[in-house]
Symmetry: C2
Subunit: 389 residues, 2 copies
Amino acid sequence: MSVVGWTNIGELCTADPSVGDGQLGVIRNAAVVAVDGRIAWVGPAAEFPDVDVSHDMGGSAVLPGFVDAHTHPVFAGDRAAEFDARMSGTNYSAGGIRTTVAATRAASDAELAANAARLAAEALRQGTTTLEAKSGYGLTVHDERRSLIAAKTVTDETTFLGAHVVPAEYADHPDDYVDLVCGPMLDACAPHATWADVFIERGAFDIDQARRILEAAKAKGLGLRVHANQLTQGEGVRLAVELGAASVDHCTHLGDDDIEALAGSATVATLVPGAEFSTRSVYAPARRLWDAGVTVAIASDCNPGSSYTTSIPLMIALAVRDMGLTPSQAVWAATAGGAASLRRDDIGVLAPGRRADLIALDAPSHVHLAYRPGVPLVRSVWRSGQSAI
Amino acid sequence: MSVVGWTNIGELCTADPSVGDGQLGVIRNAAVVAVDGRIAWVGPAAEFPDVDVSHDMGGSAVLPGFVDAHTHPVFAGDRAAEFDARMSGTNYSAGGIRTTVAATRAASDAELAANAARLAAEALRQGTTTLEAKSGYGLTVHDERRSLIAAKTVTDETTFLGAHVVPAEYADHPDDYVDLVCGPMLDACAPHATWADVFIERGAFDIDQARRILEAAKAKGLGLRVHANQLTQGEGVRLAVELGAASVDHCTHLGDDDIEALAGSATVATLVPGAEFSTRSVYAPARRLWDAGVTVAIASDCNPGSSYTTSIPLMIALAVRDMGLTPSQAVWAATAGGAASLRRDDIGVLAPGRRADLIALDAPSHVHLAYRPGVPLVRSVWRSGQSAI
C-alpha cells in the first residue's frame, strides 16, 4: 500500500462546491492523502496524518488536474501558413481540414502516435491530466482506424470522428460517405473508441446525415459527442440533446431554445475559446449558459487548423476575459466540467475515491490562472498520486 | 576572444527588413556567429565558419530576444482579489494603485529587489532579454529612490514614475505633490534612472502637471516616456510628441490627429495588450498606427493591477488576434520595436555589431508564437552570446 500526502496547501480547490467555499469548493490551509493512487482523505493541514511520501506545497494553490474534453491530436503537418494568411488578411488557397487529411494519410503510424504523444506531453506540462482525443483526419476506414489506435496510445478517451468533413473524393456524392461512416468505418473503428462525434455545420454534415451517424454509433455502444453551432445557429445542439449526447461542443451561436434544451438535459456544453481566439470569431455565451443552469466545460480543441494550443490555463483566462465566467467558474469548467463532459466520476474533483490527479501552481490562488495570463504557472503535476512533472 | 555560433537555423528572424524577407527580415537555413557577445556574422548555414562553441538549432526558428519596453516590476503584494471581483462583476472597494503603494512602502529593499528579480527571471524564461522597469509604487522621495535602486538590480533601463498617481496624502492638494515630484523627488531619483514617465489621465495627472514634470525631468537629462490615452482620448499623445518623448504608451483611445502627430515624429507608440486583456478594455488600434507609418512596440505592462503578465509571446498573440497586426509585424514590434521605444541600437535586431541576445523556439517559424497561443515555445535564450535559459 502506497500512502502519499500533500500538505501546507494554501488554497485547495476541490471543485466540489459541497465541501468548501464557492463553486470550486475551496478549503484553505489544507492537506490531501492518497492511497494507491486514489484520494483517501481531504482535510485541514493541521490534521495531516503520517504518510509514506509527503509533499510540502509551501502555501501554493492545488487543483484537480485539468480534464481537456475536446482535442484532435492525431495528425501530421501544420497549417501555420494558412493561419498567417488568415490573420494577415491575405489570399491563400486554404485547403482547411483537407490539407491535414492529406498529410495525415501520408504519415506512418509511428508519426501519428509521436505527434499525439508530443501534444499530450505538452498538455501535461500545463496541467492536463486527462484528455479526450479524436480521429477525423484519416477519413478512410484504414486511416480512421489507425488514427484511433494512435489516439489510444495517449488516452482511453478516444473519439471516432470519421464525420469530421466529407473527404474530397466524396465531394460529389456525400451520402455515400455517410454510408461508409455508418457501415464499414464504424465497424472498424468502434473497437478502438469510447465515443463517436459528428461535425454538424454547413459544409460538413447536415442534421439528417448526423442523425444517421449518431444513431448508428449509439447502436454500436459508443457514447455520443457533437460539434455543433460553431459557425451558424443550426439544429445541432437540439439533436445532441435529443439523442442524449454526453457533450455538445463549440456552442458559439445559440438561440434561447438551444439554451433551454441544454438546461433541461444531461448534455454538457463543452466550450472551446481557443477556436474562437484563433479564428477571430465571437465567443460562446458561457455566462448565459451557466446562468441558465447548463453544465459548462472548457476545452482546448487542440488541432492544427483552428486552435493549435494545448493550454488550458489560457482557455481559463479567455473564458474569464471573453466569455464572462468568473475565475472559479472557469477553473471548475476545466476540471469538474471536463469530467462531466466525459461522464467520468473518477476525475476532475478532489474528493475521497477519486483519482489523485492534481496540480500545484506557482501561485497562491486559482485566480492567478486568469490574473496572470500567458505565464506558465503549473509547477507540478501528479497522476494517480505519481509525480508526472 | 570567444567565438560562438548558431547553425541549422530553419528560420532566422533578423528583424531587419533590409536583409531578408518581409518586416522580420527572415532568412531560411541560416547561421549566426558572435564574437565576445556581439554578432559578427549572419549568413547561410552552408557558409557557417569554424567557431569555439557551436549550437545546432535543428531547424528551429531563431529570433532576437524580446525587448519589453514597459514594465512595473518593483512592488509588493498582489491584487488577485481586486481582479477576481472586477472579472466577476461583484463589488469590491478597490484601492487600485494605492493598495500596491501601501504594500510597497511597507516592504524592505530586499523584498522589492526579490520581486523584481522573480519577474525578470520569469520574463527571461519566456524570451525577454531586455526589460524596462519603472518605479511608481513608492510615491515618496525615499520610496521612489529605493524602488529605482531595486529596479537597477534587474535592468539598466530604469524609469522614474513618481507621477504614477497622486498619493492619498496629497489628494486634497495635488499640485504640492507635483512640486515634490519636480523637485526633491526628481533630484533623489535622477541618478538612478534613464527615463522619466508620467501617467496622463483623469484621476492621475493633467496635461499641465505632466508638462511641468516632463520638462523638469528633461532638464535633468532624463529621457521621456508617457502613459497616455489609456482610458480617454486626451492630449497626452500630442504632448509626448511635442516634448520629443521616446515613447508614448497605451494609446488605446486615439483620434486621427494623434495618429498624425505620431506618424510625423520619432516617438514610438508602445502598445500594451495585456492591460486591455486584463481590464476587458478595447484594444489599441495597432493596425491603424502601423499603416500610418508610426513605429509600434509591444510590451507587457507587467504590473499587479491591470496586467500581471510577463509573457511577450501572449502579447504577440493578442496583437495579432485583437489588434490586427500580422504575426511578423507583431514579432517585429516586440523586438526591434521595443528597442526603438528604448532608443537602443544595440539590441532588438540580429545584425553585425548588435548584442547576441537571441532566442530559439520549439517551433519552425515565428508564426507559431501567434498560432500556438499559451504554449510555452521559447526553448533557449542567450544574452550577449551566453546561455541564459
